[in-house]
């Protein structure tokens, strides 16, 4: 299982996948927004999105788990 973590503190601007969806390695999972910068957070390996731990608008800290992928 792979944990997708926030690389910076900020808010979840957009979630671009759904739970249960199959994703490719490097596919964007969410877009974080902080201080006018949008940072796509992607999967490292292909898999299925098991759980999304955040909702759009949520605030996350650097290192927080955003989603899990199996």
């Amino acid at each position: 299982m792979q944990e997708i973590k926030a690389t910076m503190a900020g808010s979840v601007w957009k979630i671009v996948v759904a739970e249960g969806e199959k994703v490719e390695g490097d596919q964007d999972i969410v877009i974080l927004e902080s201080m006018k910068m949008e940072i796509p957070i992607g999967a490292e390996e292909a898999g299925t999105v098991k759980e999304l731990k955040v909702a759009e608008g949520d605030f996350v800290n650097e290192g927080d788990v955003i989603a899990t992928i199996e």
Partner: protein, 448 residues
């Protein structure tokens, strides 16, 4: 006569404008969001009004609310600072309609220069060279390939709606272009709801050099020489200096004259900046015009002795420029380093709590800051929390002073780019003035 000004902005630039207003005995009105309640500029203004929640659409971009405060506080003029509403032609137009002086050019000029297509056309008409590229969006990868071959590689693929680093890519051949075109169009469509893509020639080993303009309402226009702002990360400036260590006196004159001609052709008024890309042979190309005061204006102030904000207020008041082009001269060298709340390696934002702040001091050191000790940097706005400006009789002295000032800059509790700034100014290519817009990729990221 302007007696009272509302500053429709926040952070260091709000504090900067308030400072000059006080010097000129002009009353100041600050507006602030809930996130900025404890910010220094709120206390520095004569009057302050809470205008809404942290999100910019509900606060610093809320035109109706800002104009309501302007009426309530009975101000004569609005200073828009940079960013936010400063280049919003509709906002300037609303001010004009309501009889409030917008401290900047007219709404027509803002609109012309704010649109990439019309700005390029206007500059071409004024005889200013522009970067070769497509005027309109390209609709297919076939069309992109055809246009790219007309312009010549390397080509910059740009999403019309892009920003914040998404949707910009440099390609060297047809294969890369086709891939970048579809990828960026898809991404731009998904993220911004607009998949329009433009192509522009990538000027190699380019420098970013800009000309500061002042133009009054009587038809007088002058330039305050250039600033070189080539040191950038994520296409945002990090270190700026004046004068440029690169261009010759002849190029300086040519660029200044081109900028003044452009200002006169446009009917430009107030302070503005024309940004150019300059190639290795000192050919210069129009990039864009900023119809407002710029973040890096202090380096120009330091080498000319001109208070640009004071000039803005006088011009807005209808006064004729007292400065004469042939009486202006460059005195010494100034450098500005932007202090960002961000990771110095990844450049990712680093909001959080500043536990302590001790600014460097000295005769040739100028601090413009938006924060204090025991202060929360929120994730809602730009990561720039301050600017450090130094002056020296020459570039070497300015670099040495910047080094000393950065080394004693103490800001604890959040990550900042100060370690990066120190490393950059220690690099040999920086010391010799070999600064191009790819400096950070070439000399910092690869040698870290």
């Amino acid at each position: 006569m302007i007696k009272k000004v509302l500053i429709a902005n926040r952070g260091e630039i709000a504090a900067r404008v308030i400072r000059t207003c006080k010097k000129l005995h002009i009353q100041t009105v600050a507006i602030y969001s809930e996130a900025d309640q404890h910010a220094p500029f709120v206390k520095q203004a004569d009057e302050s009004y809470l205008i809404g929640p942290p999100r910019v659409n509900e606060s610093y971009l809320n035109v109706d609310k800002i104009l309501a405060v302007a009426r309530q506080a009975n101000v004569d003029a609005i200073h828009p600072g940079y960013g936010f509403l400063s280049e919003n032609g509709s906002f300037a137009e609303r001010c004009e309609q309501e009889g409030i002086i917008f401290i900047g050019p007219t709404s027509d000029v803002i609109k012309t220069m704010g649109d990439k297509v019309s700005a390029r056309k206007a500059m071409q008409q004024a005889g200013v060279p522009i970067v070769p590229g497509t005027y309109d969006a390209v609709s297919s990868s076939d069309e992109a390939v055809q246009k790219a071959n007309e312009i010549g590689y390397p080509i910059m693929v740009k999403a019309a709606a892009g920003g914040g680093g998404i949707g910009m890519e440099v390609v060297a051949n047809d294969t890369q272009l086709i891939k970048a075109f579809s990828g960026n169009a898809k991404r731009a469509q998904a993220f911004f709801g607009d998949g329009a893509i433009f192509l522009e020639k990538k000027i190699e080993n380019a420098r970013h050099i800009e000309i500061q303009l002042l133009a009054d309402t009587k038809g007088n226009a002058i330039h305050l020489f250039e600033r070189e702002c080539s040191i950038q990360r994520r296409n945002q400036k990090v270190i700026e200096e004046a004068p440029s260590p690169f261009i010759s006196e002849k190029t300086r004159q040519k660029m200044g004259e081109a900028a003044v001609t452009a200002a006169k052709t446009l009917g430009y008024t107030n302070a503005g900046t024309i940004e150019f890309l300059v190639d290795e042979d000192e050919n210069f190309y129009f990039l864009e015009m900023n119809t407002r005061i710029q973040v890096e204006h202090p380096v120009t102030e330091e080498i000319t002795g001109v208070d640009i904000v004071a000039e803005q207020l006088r011009i807005a008041n209808g006064d004729a420029l007292q400065l004469k082009q042939d009486e202006l001269a460059i005195n010494g060298h100034a450098i500005e380093a932007r202090i960002y709340a961000e990771d110095p390696e990844t450049f990712f934002p680093s909001p959080g709590h500043i536990t302590s702040l001790h600014l460097p001091e000295g005769d040739y050191v100028r601090n413009e800051v938006a924060v204090t000790s025991d202060f929360d940097v929120t994730p809602f706005y730009d990561p720039m929390i301050g600017k450090l400006i130094v002056w020296g009789k020459d570039r070497n002295e300015a670099i040495a002073r910047l080094h000393a000032a950065l080394a004693t800059y103490e800001l604890k509790g959040i990550k900042t780019n100060i370690p990066m700034l120190l490393k950059i100014i220690d690099l040999q290519p920086y010391k010799t003035g070999n600064t191009t817009t790819s400096f950070i990729e070439k000399h910092y990221l690869n040698h870290n």
